[in-house]
Structure formats: C-alpha cells, structure tokens
C-alpha cells in the first residue's frame, strides 16, 4: 500500500524542496523501517542549542538507522507550532520531533492556546538534561539561595534577569514568600542574560544551562530542577531550600500518538548510540550539557510524572494561562 506524496522536505544544503513518495503500513513495514528518509522537526530556529544537539543526534541516528534524517526547523511559540504539526502527522515513524519536553509538560500551563497533555504523543526516549538554575556573578556576596534572600532583604529594588514565564514565576514565588522587593528585567535570549550578568546589569538571573560555558565569570546559587546538576553537584536544588518548585526539562524524541512500538524501539536504540558517539559527545561537552539517556518506557514515565509535577508547581504559584 502506498500513499501519494505527503510531505515536502527541505534538503538543507541544496536548498531545494524535494517531494517524497511512499509510506507503508503493517507489520512488514515496521520490520523494514526505516526504508526512506526521516523528517526531524525542531521547534526552534537554526543555530540554537537545541538545534545543534538535534543535528548532532540526527547524525548519529541516521548512521544507526541507515537512512538520512532531515532536520527541519519550524520555530514558533516555543515549539508548540511544530508540536501541532507533529500531532497531525501520520504515526509511521517518518515524522519525529526532537525538542525540549517543556513544550508538552509546561507550555500548556503557561500559554493559553497550547493544550497538549503528555498522552497526546508517544516518546522514543530522552537524551540530554537542561541544567536550569539561578546564576550570578562569580564574586557576588552570596553562594546559595538562603544567603541571597538575606542579602535581598537588605537591598530592596535589586534587578533580576528573566528569560521566560517560568523564570518570572520563580522570582515572584520567592519574593511573595520572603517579602522581598525585586525588579524583574525581561530578556530575549541566553546571550542577553550573559551580557547582563557580565555587565553587572542585574544581580541574579535565570539560566537555561548556558552558564556552564562561563565557569570563571558566573556561579549558580540554586538548581531549579528536582535533582542536583551533574556540573554543580554541591549546589542545592530549590526544593532542598524549601520551595517545592523544581521542574525538569530534557531533550526528548517525540512522535505522533499511535506510533507502533517496534518503531519506537528502533528509534530509541538509535538514539542511545549518541551516548557513546564521539562527535555527539564533543557537541554536548562544548555546550556544557550532560547526557542523561532514558529509553522509551522511562521517557513515558518521566513525561507522566513531570506533567503532573509541573502542573502542580505552576498552578500553586498562581500563574494562569494567559
């Protein structure tokens, strides 16, 4: 059984749109999978951290699977545009999305028009962990969250750099509980954050993990995750400091709901090869990003628990979907 041409692909270097034909179903097809190129959606623009990791992972997986993987950037609404497209794609393993799982487990609680649940997709596995934390200048007079709160009470009207609704939420929650007066400076990118910290525009900032590239200039005072960071094992998590607000994000290989398990298993195994691949390790090491591979079952479990956890965190702080 063959369907007619279904998707346009972007041959990246040649910059030509190609049509792809053919798609088979049934057990035979699952065994033969993959017998044609795979499209990998990335919900951010070309050149970002996630995009670079996706491209490196696509390289490894395409070697493992013996078929080319075309990375297609489809930015918009933090990945929600790409995820919507993935939802509409056939669950045949030929359209996959490599993205931060935050698009499914926290965006729905923050953005009004995003209504995914963890059950709307299938997952082939998770690959890397975002070391999200609160960071400051290396020479700042505080080394952990408690010391910072004490300092902030003495210094009302300080500035805090915020990249995202989540980043805002953290400072609002801390300020409300501790009665401190913070000015929240909106930022557009991780680069803005680094400039602001190094240029001493603010005394604390939210980092999605990029601070690990600047160990001589920055330090982290609190990990905003449920576990401590591999790069900073001595820094307490925000949960250990008494705020039950830790949220974990990981790059995840997301598939349309109903993808047959044998296909998920093949993709999962191909992705695991990245763990030991030399080129892939170089890419993530350069960015200071730890690999924490999870297979498809662990990934499904992690999605379920993080979805519930993030929902309770964001709702407890009282951020309403705007």
């Amino acid at each position: 059984m063959t369907h007619p041409t279904r998707r346009g692909l972007l041959g990246a270097a040649a910059a030509l749109a190609l049509g792809l034909a053919g798609s088979a179903t049934g057990a035979l097809a699952q065994e033969a999978y993959p017998d044609k190129p795979i499209t990998m959606l990335v919900g951010y623009g070309a050149g970002g951290q996630t995009d670079l990791i996706a491209r490196a992972a696509a390289n490894v997986m395409s070697k493992e699977l013996g078929q080319p993987i075309n990375v297609v950037n489809k930015p918009g609404a933090g990945g929600a545009v790409a995820a919507k497209e993935l939802q509409a794609a056939a669950p045949d393993g030929y359209t996959v999305m490599f993205h931060s799982n935050s698009v499914i487990n926290s965006a729905p609680f923050i953005m009004e028009r995003v209504e995914f649940t963890h059950e709307d997709f299938d997952y082939a596995g998770m690959l890397t962990f975002f070391q999200v934390g609160l960071v400051t200048q290396k020479d700042a007079p505080y080394d952990n969250l408690q010391e910072f709160i004490a300092w902030a009470k003495e210094n009302p009207g300080f500035s805090y750099g915020s990249l995202s609704p989540e980043a805002r939420m953290y400072m609002e929650a801390i300020a409300k509980k501790e009665g401190i007066d913070a000015n929240i400076v909106p930022l557009k990118s991780g680069g803005d954050m680094i400039n602001g910290i190094l240029g001493r525009q603010f005394v604390l900032a939210f980092s999605g993990g990029i601070h690990n590239k600047y160990p001589d200039e920055m330090k982290m005072i609190s990990a905003l995750t449920t576990i401590r960071h591999p790069s900073d094992p001595d820094v307490l998590t925000i949960e250990e400091d008494g705020f039950p607000l830790g949220m974990d994000t990981r790059t995840t290989l997301i598939l349309p709901k109903g993808t047959p398990r044998p296909i998920l298993e093949k993709l999962s195994a191909a992705m695991q090869a990245a763990e030991t691949d030399e080129d892939f390790n170089k890419v993530v090491a350069a960015a200071g990003i730890p690999i924490m591979y999870m297979d498809l079952d662990e990934a499904a479990e992690e999605m379920e628990s993080s979805y519930a956890k993030n929902k309770s965190v964001i709702e407890s702080v009282g951020v309403v979907a705007k």
């Binding site: 070309a46 918009g76 009004e112």
Partner: protein, 525 residues
C-alpha cells in the same frame, strides 16, 4: 604579529584555501537566495566540518558567514528581493540602478563596499578585540534604549517628501512589530489565536512581500510598457554604466568609511544586528548628502552605504565573542559551538592558550575577504545575465523565489500569507507615496526599543533620577532632542519654501524614496 605571520603560513596552502573558498562561494549563493541566510548556512555546515582540520573547518564557516553577507546584495539589486533582511536598504537604490541599465555598476559597487567594510572590520577585530570588548559591556539596556531612540530620528531624514507620511509609515512599522508575545509578562498581542503569530512577524517574509512582491505586482500591472522597458534595461550601452567611475569612487569612499564605522560599532554592541547597521548607515548617508531627495532613485552611494555597514557587522560582532566569550550576534552564537568543537574556546584565555589557532582564524578571515572579492567579481557576471531576460519572463521566477524564501525560515505556509499581506501593503504604500523605508526602520527598531525601555525601567528601579548614573544614555537623549528640534525647524522652513514654490509649479512636491521609478512607468503607459 609574528603569530599572524605563522597564521598566514598555516592558511596559505591549497587545501585550507580551498575550503575557505568553498565557504565563501556557498555563502555567496546562499546569501543571494532570499530566505536562506548565514545562520542557516553555518548551522547546517557545522556537522560537515567534523571531518575537516580545525583551520579548514573554521575557515569554511567564516567563509559562509562573510560570503552570504555579500551575496545578499545581488538579489537585492537585480530583483529588488533582499537575500537577507539586512540588504533591504541596498535594494532601495540598487534596484533603480539596475532598471536604468546600470546593474553591473551597482553590483560592483555593492561588492567593493562589502569587501572593504568586511576587510576593515576584520582588521578592527584583530587589532582591537580585547580593548573594545570591555567598553561594549558598559553599554547596557539603558544606554541601548537611548541609542535606539536616537536612531529613530533617522526617520525624519528618510521620509522623502512628506515628514508626516514618513512618520505614519514608521508608526505602522512599530505597530506591526508589536504583534506577538509581549516581552515582559508574555501576554499575546493581536495574535487572533494564531500560534504562528506568538513570536511576532518575521522580517524576511515581510521585507520580501513589501519590496519584491509588491514591485513585481506593480510591474505586471504595466504590461504594455514592460516589453518596451526590457528593451531599454538591457546592459547599459556605455562602459560608464558597467564600471564604477573614478568620480563615483571619490563620492563613495567617505560613504563606505562611514558605513564601515557604523557597521563595526553596531556589530560590537550587543543585540542590534546587521539590519540595524545597514539601515542606520543608509539613513546617515542620506542625511549627510547634499541631494537627499535623490535617494531611492538610483544613488550609487545608497548601495555603498548599506553594503559596507551590512558586511562590517559580521567580523566586528565577533569582538565580544573573542574578547569576552559573549556572543554579540546570532552568527557569533552559532560559531561558539563550532569553535569549541574544533578546540578553540572563545574568551580572553584563548589568546594565551591557543595563540596559533587564533592567528590561523585571523589569517583565514583576511583571506576570506580577498577570496570574496574574486568570487564575487566573477560570480556577478553570471548573476547579471538575469537582466538580459525580458522582465515579463522574470516576474514569475521572482515570485517563485520570493515564496520559497518566505517559506524557508519557518518551513511554514503561514509565512507566505504574511508575505502576500505585506505585498498588498507595499503596493498601496507605493501607490500612495508612503515610505516603506521608514516602515521597515520602525519594524526593525520598534521591538528592541520596547524591550530595552522595559528593561531600563526595571534596572533604574522605576526612578527617572537614576538616569544620572548613565551618562552615555543622557548624551544620546540630548542628541535625540536636538535632532528632533533641528528636523522640525528644517521641515517648517521647507514647508514655507514649498508654499512659495507651489504657486509657480503646482504639484511639484517631491515623492518618497524608490517611488520615482514606478511612477515613471505610469507615464510611459
């Protein structure tokens, strides 16, 4: 310095030069194709460089970045379709020149200005990376906000005949830039429930629609004159139409110097980008000119101003990256990853730890500038053949290129709708004589101005008195006020003069940039 000599020894071998040339060529072609820019080119090429020696790999990537900044002028001049948004001001005078049969002249000036801007900016990077970068950090959101406010005063100079119409167009530009998530509390503004609008309108489809598609529609509307025109547009008959004359060189060199300076400064400052650089340079040149009203009708200086600044941004945006390890632009952010992969960690320490590799990078950057000159020179002869094709055959091809270009960045048909919507606006802007230059400036600067203004309020702790701690910002606010006063006074005088001259020559009021050419067509039809 002796390191640099070793660097040249490392780079000046056939294998390395080959990869630098491959990068420049690839970049030049990518740049000429609308919608495919340096960011995409470099991001896609990074995995390919795993298999190369570090010097060749970094040379290839830098070649792509530099080549595409120069290549984007080609389609801007020949088709009125900027290959990258930062070449939009190049089209304003480059395209009219091409229509006058001076395409080769415009292309050459574009290339020379690109190479000069790029080369001098590279020298600035090599010589001043370390001392300049520490000043860049002094420029925080408060200072940037004041600088951006000042740059909005260029709207006054670029408005063409009517300051009011120019301001209206700029206000519309700012208005369309507000679509999307509001940057502070993330409330959707005017997205009408479309997820595609949450991140705002992208500059590429908007600029392509306003500049290229609208122009093609207008041209197609003049079918009867088209064939007549095409006959006239073929290669300019005289040699002077194909080369840059000595007199033009004399007029353009100061323009290129200013463009290079503006581009280099904009590149060093965080978060502004090449589009701001080329628009500012174009605006400053137009303002400094003795015949500002002629801009938009085919002034070679316009091409020189835009391209020199556009290309100067690329090397100088590496200054904060090399000196402090901070990415000053999208391209620098992408290059960080590539540099680290190949054993060079950007930052102050790299000069101590890897002096030889740094010297190699510098040497390959200089070589890339020169290779760009050669490849651009010969490549243009191929590209310039486009103008020999009758216009009625070009229009469908350009419309296809426009659609592909709009689609590329987001892989989404929605961008093509955006392009068509702004084609409509561009069409009426031309018909009604509104300046789309000021519209684009409003659109490019509006969001940065809003963000830095909101940041400034927070950083100043909501107290205007705290501005006293920001002397650079105060200086630019004073400059802004002075310019507004000066423009308003000049405008009032011009209006008075016009009232007098209107008695003699009714209807002689000047028109907005780039509209003369199209209006001329109506007369022909």
């Amino acid at each position: 310095m002796e390191n640099l000599i070793i660097g040249f020894q490392d780079v000046l071998n056939p294998a390395t030069l080959f990869w630098v040339a491959v990068g420049v060529t690839l970049g030049y072609v990518l740049g000429a194709l609308p919608g495919l820019g340096k960011a995409t080119g470099v991001a896609v090429a990074i995995p390919l460089t795993f298999y190369l020696e570090p010097v060749a790999a970094l040379g290839l990537l830098i070649g792509i970045a530099k080549g595409s900044a120069a290549g984007s002028a080609v389609s801007a001049i020949l088709l009125n379709t900027p290959g990258e948004p930062s070449s939009a001001p190049t089209a304003l005078d480059g395209y009219p020149l091409a229509r006058q049969g001076k395409a080769q002249k415009a292309l050459k000036m574009g290339l020379y200005a690109s190479v000069l801007g790029d080369f001098v900016s590279t020298l600035i990077l090599i010589g001043l990376a370390a001392p300049l970068a520490s000043y860049a950090l002094l420029i925080g959101p408060v200072e940037l906000c004041a600088i951006l406010l000042f740059s909005l005063t260029f709207v006054g100079g670029l408005s063409g005949g009517s300051l009011t119409k120019g301001l209206i167009a700029a206000a519309f530009g700012v208005f369309f830039a507000t679509i999307g998530l509001e940057p502070e509390t993330f409330i959707s503004r005017m997205t009408f429930g479309r997820l595609e609008l949450e991140d705002g309108l992208a500059l590429v489809p908007l600029a392509i629609g306003m500049l290229a598609v609208a122009e093609m529609v207008l041209q197609a509307g003049n079918m009867r004159t088209l064939d007549h025109e095409s006959a006239r547009i073929v290669q300019g008959a005289s040699r002077d139409d194909r080369v840059v004359t000595a007199a033009e060189w004399r007029r353009c060199l100061p323009v290129i110097a200013r463009g290079t300076l503006i581009g280099s400064v904009v590149g060093i400052l965080p978060g502004l980008g090449a589009s701001v650089g080329s628009f500012l340079s174009y605006g400053a040149t137009q303002r400094a000119s003795k015949t500002p009203e002629k801009y938009g009708t085919g002034m070679i200086e316009g091409v020189a101003a835009a391209e020199s600044a556009d290309n100067a941004v690329v090397p100088s945006s590496l200054v904060p990256l090399f000196a402090l390890g901070i990415p000053g632009s999208v391209i620098a952010a992408i290059l960080i990853a590539a540099f680290i992969l190949h054993g060079l960690t950007p930052g102050p320490l790299m000069f101590k730890q890897q002096p030889r590799l740094v010297a190699d990078v510098y040497a390959s950057m200089i070589c890339a500038s020169l290779i760009m000159l050669v490849i651009g020179y010969f490549g243009q002869r191929l590209f310039a053949m486009v103008i020999r094709v009758p216009l009625r055959l070009i229009i469908p091809g350009v419309l296809l290129l426009c659609s592909v270009g709009a689609y590329m960045e987001t892989s989404s048909v929605f961008s093509i709708y955006v392009m068509l919507f702004f084609a409509l606006i561009g069409f009426f802007a031309r018909k009604l004589d509104f300046s789309f230059v000021t519209f684009l400036i409003g659109f490019v600067i509006g969001p940065s101005l809003e963000l830095t203004f909101r940041q400034s309020i927070q950083i100043l702790d909501h107290k205007a008195a705290n501005l006293a701690g920001h002397p650079i910002a105060l200086l630019f606010i004073a400059l802004t006020l002075a310019t507004v006063w000066w423009t308003a006074r000049g405008n009032a005088r011009a209006a008075a003069a016009r009232r007098r001259s209107d008695l003699v020559l009714p209807g002689s009021a000047s028109r907005g940039p780039a509209s003369t050419e199209t209006t001329g067509n109506h007369k022909g039809g």
